[in-house]
Symmetry: C2
Subunit: 447 residues, 2 copies
């Protein structure tokens, strides 16, 4: 390739970078509908929007995180600048920086793209949407907030309608306390938690092997499996945990917290069947200090975790002396969307935002434009096919877009002060006034 | 600084990079309202959403542009990757790449951030929102589209309500043809157009001087001023242009196009007073080949151009052999927003998305949570003050957020099956049922 000079008018091959999702219009419309449901639900619960820059100072991004994160970051050429890898670190920086201007508890949502430098693999993206909510307290933040978060997630996934789902809950204090009681502490504990977090991926044997490599004694390994294998109804699990007779203070504080949170979730109207204590959930990041969440679709376990989060004692400790505890959760929408689409759990419908395409005939463009304005005044998204082309081409266009309605305005229609409206789904065409057509289309929107 | 080691627990100072706008919640809510109006209006006209990656291959970004653009680009450390500097180049790449999957005319909108490497100055941002619409044809695209674009911009700014505005229109062919008739061609012509585009900034003397530096003869300079000084009603300007007796073919084609577009704009219902031919508008980018637009607020000329765009004969010529003409326009929302806010043309109201804050008293948290669910079912954004704090603190919180309504649920209210609702604007408090409160709040939303 190096030896043949390119032709002078060589085209640049139009491609995107690996690991960057880019959708066709029909997919984008579907994606945006999900984004809208999430935003509307977050706002309904009184979360306010935030829109931090996509580029942050590297020192801000790396203030807390260890070597793992450094590898994942996507730096700019300009020294000391990089793309954010999540929305939590910028939030921590934001609350520390804007502390005096904020009212606490500070409830914010942010739906935005984040960036990762890691090698793209199937289902892993270098640019993807996170849809985050967090509640940040000033000095303190009641446990009741840990119970409200699942109720918001419940509302989101009820509205999204991907079938039954389970919000799995654990508490890091229970894990930390249990491992301390087994003499697994410090760095070893962190490593062990990371291994356990991967149980779904590497299986029981894999975990067993990796724990052995971390020099966890065999007897302890089987105790660990006994512990994370505790199952049953939520109240039963709490009883079993209390009955283990573990004297560790952190452990018992964790059990009490979990008990409180599980009971409070019920008060927020989340059905028992949507919430399950799962002692396996560790959440790799050492961020979290209390409640941790993961959510999965019951009918599609292969989709994996669709949203996760938890409680952190001190969100912004790298940036301020203020103690700002918080709790939050994040939906990784890009991965979720692409999985759901691939598995045909969701399906695209049309390739256009328009509800109506108006096709003028017999030089009635002006009448078509006039009508389009009337449709829009009633909130109906309408466009006019204004190209000079045969009607067949216009109909082909309508079919490719899968626009729900087509209106035809020709000499015959104009002479009667009407338009012909065709429902493209049913194929039914009728001659009506614009007002009648507006009702027809609006009615369909409700049906 | 190098000699004193930092203290071990040194905090990272929480700051953002220069040139990156970051808003407080009240400002963000206001900003998002503008974004929503723009999106809703674009969709109402049948434009479909597109969301291309923020990172593109450098060769894609630089395919067309010259040295000017190279300096403006924000590259990643990873070779051959950079942040997009506008949404038009990614669109060109997209339509070339996805040609077979798209139906033409392809109408898309994209509201997204773009990035510039230039040194930040006041009012100039390194990250800012562009709100673009474009219509792309396959092989051809009728001039009627050049007239539809201003009608959409008209609808957007009518809804945004910043007072009277003027969409100024010109046609590049008129300028090119005129300059050719004055023997100003090729690179010199491009330079001259760039100078004229800066008339508002550097004044008549500045233009005069720079034109002289470009070796434009003095007699020609005064002809140029005579030409761009042609004013009057749109129809008068067209008549004057036709009367100049310039034999240049391009010039006359441009005049015909402008005549057609100006007449067609009227058919789209845009009042005459909102559209003005302005022969000074050149638009620096050599992208544009026909119609060009700029829009300004009549009462606030210091805000400058609030949206601009135009027609390009062949959008994607760097990426494909297909001929894809287009016309589009872009609102630079970040700059517009910050100017309007600074000049107090727009004002923030509250710091929360919530319409209602429910404050439980006398341990009535459960009743508060229950009521909040009922408000949300009616579409009212509600949150519960769940911190264990004195009522005064809760009211201070409500005041800082400027939430429109506060509800109090204490023992007294519960015993009567009611809640106390306070309109925080009027100060009026009343004891009502939840249903009555819902109507009260919804009614206020309409008022």
């Amino acid at each position: 390739m190096d030896k043949t000079p390119p032709p002078i008018l060589a085209k640049v091959v139009p491609t995107t970078l690996d690991g960057f999702m880019e959708l066709l219009p029909a997919e984008q419309i579907l994606f945006n509908k999900m984004l809208d449901v999430i935003r509307e639900t977050y706002e309904l619960f009184g979360f306010s929007p935030l829109d931090t820059p996509a580029v942050e100072k590297l020192e801000v991004l790396l203030a807390k995180s260890g070597g793992e994160t450094t590898k994942q970051i996507l730096p700019l050429q300009k020294e000391g600048q990089a793309l954010r890898f999540d929305l939590t670190v910028p939030l921590a920086r934001y609350v520390a920086q804007r502390y005096r201007d904020l009212a606490f508890p500070f409830r914010r949502y942010q739906l935005a793209k984040v960036y990762r430098g890691e090698r793209p693999q199937k289902g892993r993206y270098r640019e993807f949407y996170q849809c985050d909510i967090d509640i940040i307290g000033d000095g303190q933040l009641g446990l009741i907030n840990d119970a409200e978060i699942p109720s918001i997630i419940y509302a989101v996934f009820q509205r999204l309608g991907f079938g039954p789902f389970t919000i799995r809950i654990n508490n890091r204090k229970i894990l930390n306390g249990f491992f301390c009681s087994q003499n697994i502490t410090g760095e070893q504990q962190k490593e062990v938690l990371r291994v356990i977090d991967r149980l779904d991926k590497i299986g029981k044997n894999g975990v067993s092997q990796e724990l052995a490599e971390l020099e966890v004694p065999e007897a302890t390994i089987s105790k660990i499996f006994g512990f994370i294998g505790i199952t049953g109804k939520n109240s039963d699990i709490i009883e079993q945990l209390k009955g283990l007779g573990i004297a560790d203070e952190t452990f018992n504080a964790g059990v009490d917290e979990l008990d409180t949170v599980i009971n409070a979730i019920r008060r927020f109207g989340v059905p028992e069947e949507n919430v399950a204590i799962d002692l396996k959930i560790a959440r790799g990041l050492d961020y979290y200090t209390g409640t941790v969440y993961e959510t999965a679709l019951n009918d599609y376990p292969e989709v994996g975790s669709i949203c996760s989060g938890g409680r952190y004692d001190n969100l912004a400790e790298c940036y301020t002396d203020k103690n700002l505890p918080g709790v939050g959760i994040s939906i990784g929408l890009t991965r979720l969307f692409s999985k759901l689409l691939e598995m045909q759990i969701i399906k695209t419908s049309g390739s256009t935002s328009a509800q109506l395409l108006i096709i003028p005939m017999d030089d009635q463009l002006d009448k078509a434009i006039e009508a389009s304005a009337r449709f829009r005044q009633s909130g109906i998204s309408a466009m006019v096919y204004s190209e000079q082309a045969k009607p067949a081409k216009a109909f082909k266009y309508a079919n490719r877009l899968k626009v729900p309605f087509v209106a035809i305005i020709g000499g015959q229609e104009v002479s009667q002060g009407k338009i012909s409206v065709k429902n493209m789904m049913t194929g039914v065409q009728q001659l009506t006034t614009v007002s009648e057509a507006i009702e027809l289309i609006q009615h369909r929107g409700e049906g």
